[in-house]
């Protein structure tokens, strides 16, 4: 009689993978979004230095995505 091998997945490992994905993917997403905004903001700043504040704000808006990712990761683990 053949004995079927049963593989178990350790829930802790899956949690760690989930947490990693949450931070990693949101980090990528923030990066992609900030890339375009940041380069445009620097372009605007080169024209007019006083736009620094506005440029900074617009650039860090997508930062929230990765913060949420980090929070989710903390909640999972």
């Amino acid at each position: 009689m053949a004995v079927e091998a049963v593989t178990y997945m350790d829930p802790a490992g899956l949690k760690a993978i989930g947490a990693g994905l949450a931070v990693g993917l949101t980090g990528l997403a923030s990066g992609i979004a900030e890339r375009d905004i940041g380069s445009a903001a620097i372009g605007a700043m080169a024209e007019n230095e006083s736009l620094f504040g506005k440029g900074l704000i617009l650039t860090v808006i997508p930062e929230t995505i990765v913060i949420f990712g980090l929070v989710v990761a903390l909640l999972i683990s």
Partner: protein
Amino acid sequence: MLKPKQMSRAVIVGHKDIMEATVEAIHGSNLFHLEDYNEDGSGLKLGRPFKNAGEVSKKLIQLRSISSFLGVKKESIPKKKETTVINELDSMLDQLDIEVSTKTEKKSELDSRLKELETLKKDISPFSAIPIDMELYHNYESIKVFAGTVKENIGPAISQVTSTYEMEYDQSTGTVVLFIKKEDEAKISEILSNFEFREIRIPEISGTPSTLLADITREEEGIQKQITSLETDISSIKDKYSEFILASEELLTIEAEKAEAPVKIATSEHTFIIDGWIPDDQFATLERTIESATNGRAFVSKQNITKADTDIIPIEYDNPKITQPFQEIMDLYARPKYKEIDPTSLIFISFPLFYGMILGDIGYALILLALALGIKKMVNSDAVKPLMNVLIYCQISTLIFGVLYGEFLGFPLASLHTDHGIIPGLIAGFETITLFNSPVGGEVITYPIHRTHIVMTMIIATAIIGSLHVNFGYVVGFINEKRNHGFAAAMFEKGSWLVVELGIILGVLGYTGYAPTEIIGIIVFLIGFVMLVKGEGAKGAIELPSLLSNALSYTRLIAVGLSSIYIASTVNLIAFEMILPQGGVLAVIGAIIVFIFGHALNTVLSIIAPGLHSLRLQYVEFFGKFYEGGGRKYNPFGYIRKYTEE
């Protein structure tokens, strides 16, 4: 506090005879923000610069070019009397000009000769191993000269074609020079091209390359020496005259500003009208100054500020000294408008508070505090000082939170008993005290607060702090709006958010069964929603979810802080638990290096990450609720003397 300085619009009118005296008085007081006059067809014309303008600006240009040639740096020197500077200005300037101009000419001559030699050297160097006089390469009728580089010796190949040739080949550089009869040129060229021949330009000079190169090196050394001695001369001139240059440049700048002032002023044939702004409390001072300067012949009047004016009123902050460094952070975003609340004093509290909450480490606080104090002491710059002051405030807050969190460079100060065993603290015998159970996540609040062990509680706590801060923003917005557009507009635009939130809270309380308010909550929410749509239009409805995302955005207060702790404790782990136990002197050195560099990196990150995130919370989440900004900077016509005194 909380409000920009009260300004008055002042107009000064008088006869052209007293224009110079008036301008002098205004400039001296350094209080009056001059409004540039634009010709608008009313018959008034822009004034002409005073008659000394040309001379003053000529001298100023002369002085500035000398100053930049000598490299005079701004430094603190004892103030000179204005009259002494004026008396010696002309003679000193001439003397200085003579001394410097000969030196300048000499130096540029030497520099260009040095460059020439450099090129020549480059041209000759390929021929350095070939002992033929450079003169012998030119001026032949029946001989063709090839000079260039090839990939290998071409002697055998050439001798197959002709026997009448002269060749020199330098194995090391691959340089070849070849003298052949003119008629063989075509054949030889073909062979050369097979050997990847690349022609080199032959410089037109005489002498063998090796002696030429030696000569050039000798001449270069001579020139270098001359330049060095010239530079010593220049620096001694600089030392001798730099005080005079700084003082007279300041004086001439002041004179030039005054002399050019009439081009901003409206004039008619016999009169002038100066228009501008002045802080309200200084109006009397200005009036008095001008009266005494002109014997009362100029007429100063205060104008009513019209509604159209409010957008162009120059803004001067009016904050207590302690909060003034944060004006820099305000300027980074935008100056407040005249009728707006100036939030400098608000971010004076919230910015360091959030920074400290994120960083919260005694070790980093002390390092950065020392750094900030050091830089503040050493760098004497008006741009750096306020930023260092901001950093110092932030570090004080970090220190307080560090004591609260009990962290030192990523090490916990107190030992903590957990389910997985005891985490030892840095201070022996300092035990964590259990205070009470947290309502969420089955976590326990202790002193010191171990942030890494109560993540759930901290996330909720920071989100609550966020809601409070955002709502405070709405309240400030309400006040702004009420001041500018009345109570109703404020209620619809800003108050509606508070009503919506109240509705949500009541609804949630009802839904979870804490209070029988579910229906009331929904009704209040709907009322708030309708008010919001009336106040802000469709935009308000779309922005509704931002209530949640804004509050959650404050969870970065714990998230960024945790990442900082983890970096620090990873550095400690690598240094003290992975490298150090290897034993030996090398391990000790390695551990120390990892420890120092790791924490140096994290120290830099400790300025950037908490700083930027805290700043963002002010700019985006907080300012977004009420702040408009865009005020003009109050820039009084005048000069702050550094090197001279009257």
